[in-house]
């Protein structure tokens, strides 16, 4: 199931990485990571805090440039020469703390990037934004400022904002970690919904329901390395490594 690190990246995969490494000074944040994500696949990334999950997914839209190894997105090798605008339009990212633009209304948050980057006329940008806001059940708040919304509502706006760029891959970095339990279900419902529609999804989350029932595969990381890539049924019933077992024990007791 794991690709051979020595092979070339798979051009038909949505994301393909080989020996991907990332250093902060002399600290190894990502250590020779290799795997493929096929189109339409849903991946959940698990691992203890500080294991490099955020760093990994931020490499995919080059918000964190990797130091060595090969990264290919949608058949294109990503390096210093890559057109970042095109890459980032292809790869949407949702942050743990939403990072909505506080000075813009919900609607303007959603239309800013399409208008600036894709030069979409305002009318059609707004029309599309309203469609996605409806999809995340927040259309009636379109003219409010982020500060007027609850955390769950803000995260749903952040998802709609990312969708407005019509990405082919959606990356989620602990999208529910800052939310209270009632708000979590609303956001998870939307992620389920998106997964159903077939968009390639990579999600760092501790939402076990999502990991068990929606994910095609689980990636388990520790100390910058991938320890396991397995379907959820196998990961949750029969983890191969002691680290994964410990991690799961902690998750359950928590």
């Amino acid at each position: 199931m794991n690709p051979d690190p020595k092979t070339m990246p798979d051009p038909s995969a949505m994301i393909s990485v080989r020996n991907l490494s990332k250093l902060y000074k002399d600290f190894i944040a990502l250590d020779r990571i290799s795997f493929d994500v096929q189109r339409g696949e849903k991946i959940v990334v698990l691992g203890p805090s500080g294991s490099g999950k955020s760093t990994l997914i931020r490499c995919f839209n080059r918000i964190e440039p990797h130091d060595s190894g090969i990264l290919s997105i949608d058949g294109q090798i990503i390096n210093a020469q890559t057109d970042l605008t095109q890459l980032r339009a292809t790869v949407g990212l949702v942050f743990q703390n939403y990072n909505l633009f506080p000075h813009l209304s919900v609607l303007d948050n959603c239309t800013l990037a399409p208008r600036l980057v894709k030069k979409t006329p305002r009318a059609s940008a707004e029309e599309m934004a309203m469609r996605f806001l409806k999809q995340v059940n927040i259309a009636e708040q379109a003219n409010k400022y982020p500060i007027q919304l609850s955390g769950g509502q803000q995260q749903r706006v952040a998802i709609a904002r990312a969708l407005c760029m019509q990405p082919e891959v959606m990356l989620f970095d602990e999208p529910t970690a800052a939310l209270d339990p009632e708000a979590i279900s609303g956001v998870v419902a939307i992620m389920n919904d998106l997964a159903q529609q077939g968009i390639t999804t990579l999600c760092v989350t501790h939402e076990m329901g999502f990991a068990r029932h929606i994910a095609d595969r689980i990636i388990f990381m520790d100390k910058g390395r991938i320890l396991e890539i397995t379907p959820p049924a196998e990961f949750f019933t029969n983890p191969k490594t002691q680290r994964a077992r410990d991690f799961l024990d902690q998750m359950i007791s928590y």
Binding site: I63, F95, F101, H103, L112, A113, Y145, P146, I147, Q148
Partner: protein, 526 residues
């Protein structure tokens, strides 16, 4: 043709002319008086065919603003300057400035001559040539009813006010040496930047006496409302003549002496003296006028509505707005560079900020106006007006403060905002323009308005480099009339009016930042 070229030609023409002939010619001219159309020899200090006279118009009746138009300088010195210009058949331009700026400006070739009621003194003649035109005497003046003194030693232990930059303080210091040697208390000397403030100290009773020239007192008799009298005329051999000052040049001095002598012979000088009431009789009138009311409302209201004050306020506002706008424009890229990676540029910028925050603003103004032309002659040309100098100086100064505000504001914008902009494929420019700057603006606005209000008040320093801003206008009016309270009150109204306007503006603008506050955002929506 350039000005140095013209000067060169003039020097040449002089060199080839025999001295004897020049002297003979001057003699003929003196006899002929002003009736002749023949041009007298032009002195070298007349640049570009113009007689530029520098003056600090706060010393009636020698030089002062005799009305509400601050550009119309009047007085004995101005009358003499006009006659001199006529004599040489050249136009005359008056440049007004702070007293302490007069000699540096003369040295920097910004003036042909200084005509500002300045006493002829050997100390000054070390560096400049002086030509006297009016006799005078030093007088010590105290409140009416003070008994006369018999000598300067009687001032021992008493406080005496003098105008700073004048030679009176040096003369009093000399008296003090003698007093201290005799084991007596010295005279306490207080220095004030303008003559009117000197007089005011005596009127309000803070100091015992002030030192002045008799001619001034004659002129002031009406304004002083019988509140002062002369208590001593010390028998000093110096302080006997008012003089015009020029840069050192024996030939120029001779030409100026001839011109003054001619005016004495043809009666022009006598006419001027008569016009300005210079006679011993004038002194007697000092105690006759009735005392003035406490606050003259008509003076206050006419100052408030005068074009002089409106113009002064406009200049204050204009130079403050332009300087702060320029400072903001300079300081934004500076703040970005200072928030960025370490580099040589960053070190240079840090130095810039330290220097311009460290040095007093007044010093920076004086440096740009008086010292800069010594290194860069282009700054001594006419285009470099006091307004431009103030604008330049305050822009640089203010940018050093504004950069800290900008830096803090940019730093206070959540780092996640930049990440979100990047993740949405926006370019660097777009992220700054549409995401970071609008949020930094909200954070920077209140301290920026505070800075602006303080800058608005700092502009008053520019009176030292002769900018006719609000406070300079006020002081000139006070010097003319001695109606301190009324003119100060009018200036206060203008300053407060401007400050309140900007505070009001700030409130209005802050409403646009309702997005930062949940309650306000909700209130705005309904």
């Amino acid at each position: 043709m350039t000005h140095s070229m013209a000067q060169f030609m003039r020097r040449c023409s002089f060199r080839f002319r025999p001295r004897a002939l020049a002297a003979a010619l001057a003699g003929v001219l003196a006899i002929a008086g002003s009736a002749q159309a023949a041009d007298p020899d032009l002195p070298g200090f007349i640049h570009d065919g113009t007689l530029t006279v520098c003056t600090n118009p706060t010393l009636p009746p020698m030089t002062f603003v005799n009305g509400t138009d601050v550009n119309a300088v009047d007085g004995i010195d101005m009358d003499i300057a006009h006659r001199l210009a006529e004599y040489w058949h050249v136009p005359m331009v008056v440049t007004t400035m702070d007293f302490t700026g007069l000699f540096p400006s003369l040295a920097a070739q910004r003036c042909s001559m200084v005509a500002s009621g300045i006493i002829k003194l050997p100390d000054r003649e070390k560096n400049f040539d002086a030509v006297s035109y009016q006799d005078t005497a030093l007088v010590v003046v105290a409140r009416a009813g003070t008994p006369p003194l018999s000598s300067m030693a009687d001032l021992s232990g008493k406080t005496v006010a003098v105008q700073s930059g004048t030679s009176y303080s040096a003369r009093l210091a000399k008296e003090n040496e003698a007093l201290v040697q005799a084991g007596r208390a010295p005279i306490i000397i207080q220095q004030y930047p303008t003559e009117d403030q000197v007089v005011q100290q005596v009127l309000i009773g803070r100091v015992f006496a002030f030192a002045s020239q008799d001619v001034e007192l004659y002129y002031r008799q009406e304004q002083l409302h019988g509140k002062v009298n002369v208590i001593l005329v010390p028998p000093y051999p110096e302080y006997r003549h008012f003089a015009l000052y020029i840069r050192k040049n024996a030939h120029d001095r001779e030409l100026l002496e001839q011109a003054i002598a001619t005016m004495g012979q043809n009666g022009q000088m006598a006419a001027i003296q008569k016009k300005w009431a210079i006679s011993p009789d004038a002194a007697k009138a000092l105690t006759r006028t009735p005392p003035a009311p406490m606050f003259r409302w008509d003076t206050f209201f006419s100052a408030l509505t005068s074009t002089a004050f409106m113009r002064g306020a406009f200049i204050t506002l204009a130079v403050a707005v332009l300087s702060h706008f320029t400072a903001i424009m300079i300081s934004i890229p500076m703040a970005l560079a200072l928030n960025g990676r370490d580099s040589l540029l960053k070190m240079v910028l840090k130095g810039y900020v330290s220097v311009f925050r460290g040095a007093p603003t007044l010093l920076q103004l004086l440096f740009i106006w008086n010292a800069l032309p010594q290194f860069l002659p282009i700054f001594r040309e006419a285009w470099f007006t006091p307004f431009l100098a103030t604008w330049l100086s305050l822009s640089i100064n203010e940018s050093a403060y504004q950069v800290e505000i900008n830096r803090a504001a940019l730093g206070a914008v959540d780092k996640g905002q930049e990440l979100a902009g990047d993740a949405l494929a926006m370019s660097r420019r777009q992220v700054y323009r549409h995401v970071i700057f609008p949020q930094a603006l909200r954070i920077a606005l209140p301290p920026t308005i505070n800075e602006f209000i303080s800058l608005l008040k700092t502009t008053s320093l520019a009176s030292v480099i002769s900018l006719q801003e609000l406070l300079a206008v006020t002081q000139i009016q006070v010097a003319r009339t001695f109606e301190f309270t009324e003119y100060y009150a009018a200036a206060l109204v203008y300053y407060l009016g401007m400050v309140f306007f900007f505070l009001f503006l700030q409130k209005r603008v802050e409403r646009r930042f309702a997005w930062a506050d949940r309650h306000k955002a909700t209130a705005n929506e309904s």
